[in-house]
C-alpha cells in the first residue's frame, strides 16, 4: 500500500493535502479573529458603554489585572467539578455493572432512572442546597448528580451492546459470569462509556457554576454573579474566559482518553 502512494507524482498530492490541512486550521482562526474584530468594532463604533459591551481589549485587561482573584476563585470550581465527575464515574459504572448481572434489577431500576433524568436536572439544584447546605458539599452533590445520568446511561448501553456471539462463546468456554463481565463486557463497553464521560464533564462544570450562582461565597460562578451585581461586565467576561479554558482542558483530557481507547481497540 505504501508503494502505491510512492508511485504517484510527488508534487501534486502531498502539496494539495498540506494546503488543505493548512486551510482547515487557518480558516477557523481567521473566522474567530474576525468575530473578535467585529466585536471590537461594534463596541467602539457604536460607542456602546463599557458596562454593556466592553471591548476584547478591556476583557483582557480585566483578566490580567485581576489574575490573582480569578485564580483564587478558579480553584474551588475546578475542585468541585472534578470531584463530582470522579464520584459520578465510580457510581455510574458501579450501578450499571451491578444491573448487568441481574435482568430483574435492570428491568426495575433502569426505567426509573430514565424517568428521573427527564426532569431538568438544573431544577434540583436548590433542593440539594436545602439538603447539603451552601458549602462545597452541595456543589459536589449537584455535580455528581448531574454527571451520573449520562455516565450511567452510556455504561448500561455499552454493557448491553456486548456482541451476543461473544457472550455465547464465553458460555461455550464455560467462563463464569464474572469472567465474562471482566474479559468481554467491561472492555467492550469502554467506547460507550467515554461518550457518556464527554457529556458528563461539560455538565459537571455547568452544575457547579449554577450551584455557585444560587448560593455560594466562592468559585467562578460566585465571581461572575458578584461582578454582574456591580455591573463589571469586563470582569464577568474575564472570569468566563478562564472558565471556558478550564472547561476545554477538562474536555480535552477526557477526549484524549477516548482516543487512547479507540487506538487500543485497533480503530
Amino acid at each position: 500500500m505504501v508503494s502505491a502512494v510512492d508511485t504517484t507524482p510527488l508534487t501534486a498530492a502531498p502539496v494539495g493535502l498540506a494546503f488543505d490541512h493548512a486551510r482547515s486550521i487557518a480558516l477557523p482562526i481567521v473566522f474567530g479573529a474576525g468575530l473578535l474584530l467585529l466585536w471590537h468594532l461594534a463596541a467602539v463604533g457604536f460607542q456602546i458603554p463599557k458596562v454593556i459591551l466592553p471591548t476584547p481589549g478591556d476583557v483582557f485587561t480585566a483578566l490580567v489585572n485581576n489574575a490573582g482573584t480569578i485564580w483564587q476563585q478558579t480553584i474551588p470550581t475546578v475542585r468541585d467539578t472534578l470531584l463530582g465527575f470522579g464520584l459520578a464515574t465510580v457510581l455510574g459504572i458501579g450501578l450499571a455493572s451491578l444491573l448487568s448481572f441481574s435482568r430483574l434489577l435492570r428491568d426495575a431500576i433502569y426505567p426509573l432512572v430514565i424517568v428521573i433524568q427527564l426532569v431538568p436536572k438544573i431544577a434540583w439544584t436548590p433542593l440539594f442546597i436545602v439538603w447539603a447546605g451552601i458549602g462545597w458539599q452541595s456543589r459536589l452533590t449537584i455535580a455528581t448528580f448531574i454527571c451520573f445520568f449520562p455516565i450511567f446511561i452510556a455504561m448500561v448501553a455499552g454493557l448491553e451492546s456486548t456482541d451476543r456471539s461473544l457472550v455465547r462463546l464465553c458460555r461455550g468456554l464455560t467462563a463464569s459470569t464474572w469472567r465474562t463481565f471482566w474479559l468481554v463486557r467491561l472492555p467492550g463497553s469502554l467506547t460507550y462509556l467515554f461518550a457518556g464521560l464527554k457529556i458528563a464533564i461539560t455538565l459537571s462544570v455547568i452544575g457547579v457554576i449554577v450551584a455557585e450562582f444560587i448560593s455560594s461565597s466562592e468559585g467562578l460562578g460566585f465571581l461572575i454573579l458578584k461582578s454582574a451585581a456591580l455591573l463589571q461586565t469586563d470582569m464577568i467576561l474575564a472570569a468566563i474566559t478562564v472558565l471556558c479554558v478550564v472547561g476545554l482542558i477538562c474536555y480535552g483530557v477526557v477526549h484524549a482518553g477516548e482516543v487512547a481507547v479507540r487506538r487500543w481497540r485497533g480503530e
Binding site: G32, V51, A108, I109, P120, I122, P126, L127, V130, I209
Partner: protein
C-alpha cells in the same frame, strides 16, 4: 430465540421499584430521623401540590411560553444557519470549529451577561433560552445535511438538478431525523435556560418558585414545583414528538 416481552413484565418491575422507593421515602420521613423541613413525607408533597395548584399553574405559564418561544426561535435560527453553513465548504471549514467551541463551553455562565443586556424580564429569559438551545439544533442540522449517501449527490448531478432542488428533495429529507434529534435536545436546553434565567432574575416562573421555597425551607412546595416543571417539560417534549411525526408523515406521503 424469540421472546416477546409482555406489558406486565416491562411495567411491573419499575412500578414495584418506584413503590418501594416511595415507601422508603415515607418511612424515612415519618421515622423522624430526618427533619420534616428537609424531607416532607410523599403525601405532604401531594397535598401541597393540590393546594398550590393555582399558583403553580399560574407560574408555569411564563416558564412554558418562554421555553416555547426560545425553542421556536432557536429552531428557526439553527436550521437556517445550518443550511447556510452547509452550502459552502469554505464556510463550513471556517465556522464549524467555532460552533464546536460554543457547544463545549459552559454557556450557562453567560446568563448574568444576558441580564445586563436584556433586563430581568421575559425577553432575557427567552434570549438566553435561544442562546443555549440554538447549538444542538445547528449541529443536528449540519450533521443531517451530510447524512445523504454520496451516491445520491451524484444521482442529482446526473439528473441535472440544481442546488435548491437537491436540498429540498434529497438532503433535507435525509437530514430530518438528525434535525429532530437536535430539536429534542434543544427543547430540554430551552427549559434549562428559562429555569436558570428565573433562578437568577427571581421574578416569576417555576424557577422562581423553586428558589423561593428553597430559601424558605418549604421543601414540600419545592418538590411540588419540580413536579410541575416536570409536567411542563413532558408536555413540551410531547409537542415536539408530535411535530416530528407530522413532518415525517408529510415527507413520506409525497
Amino acid at each position: 430465540m424469540i421472546a416477546i416481552a409482555s406489558p406486565v413484565r416491562t411495567v411491573a418491575p419499575p412500578a414495584i421499584a418506584a413503590l418501594l422507593l416511595l415507601a422508603g421515602w415515607d418511612l424515612l420521613a415519618r421515622s423522624g430521623a430526618v427533619s420534616a423541613r428537609l424531607l416532607p413525607a410523599p403525601d405532604k408533597v401531594w397535598d401541597t401540590l393540590l393546594r398550590s395548584m393555582s399558583v403553580l399553574l399560574e407560574q408555569a405559564q411564563p416558564t412554558f411560553w418562554a421555553a416555547i418561544a426560545g425553542i421556536l426561535a432557536a429552531a428557526l435560527l439553527g436550521i437556517l444557519l445550518g443550511i447556510a453553513v452547509s452550502v459552502s465548504r469554505t464556510a463550513m471549514q471556517a465556522i464549524y470549529p467555532t460552533i464546536v467551541f460554543f457547544q463545549l463551553i459552559p454557556k450557562v455562565a453567560l446568563a448574568p451577561v444576558f441580564l445586563i443586556w436584556f433586563g430581568t424580564g421575559f425577553t432575557a429569559k427567552v434570549v438566553f433560552a435561544v442562546f443555549i438551545a440554538f447549538f444542538p439544533v445547528l449541529i443536528g442540522t449540519i450533521a443531517g445535511l451530510q447524512a445523504a449517501p454520496p451516491s445520491y449527490g451524484r444521482l442529482c448531478q446526473a439528473l441535472l438538478m440544481n442546488r435548491l432542488q437537491t436540498l429540498l428533495t434529497v438532503e433535507l429529507p435525509f437530514a430530518l431525523p438528525h434535525i429532530f434529534s437536535g430539536l429534542r435536545i434543544g427543547v430540554t436546553f430551552a427549559v434549562i435556560g428559562v429555569v436558570l434565567g428565573e433562578f437568577i432574575t427571581a421574578q416569576t416562573g417555576l424557577g422562581y418558585i423553586i428558589l423561593f421555597s428553597a430559601n424558605n425551607f418549604e421543601t414540600a412546595l419545592l418538590l411540588a414545583a419540580i413536579l410541575m416543571l416536570c409536567a411542563v417539560g413532558i408536555v413540551l417534549f410531547a409537542l415536539f414528538l408530535a411535530l416530528e411525526a407530522i413532518v415525517t408523515r408529510l415527507y413520506d406521503s409525497r
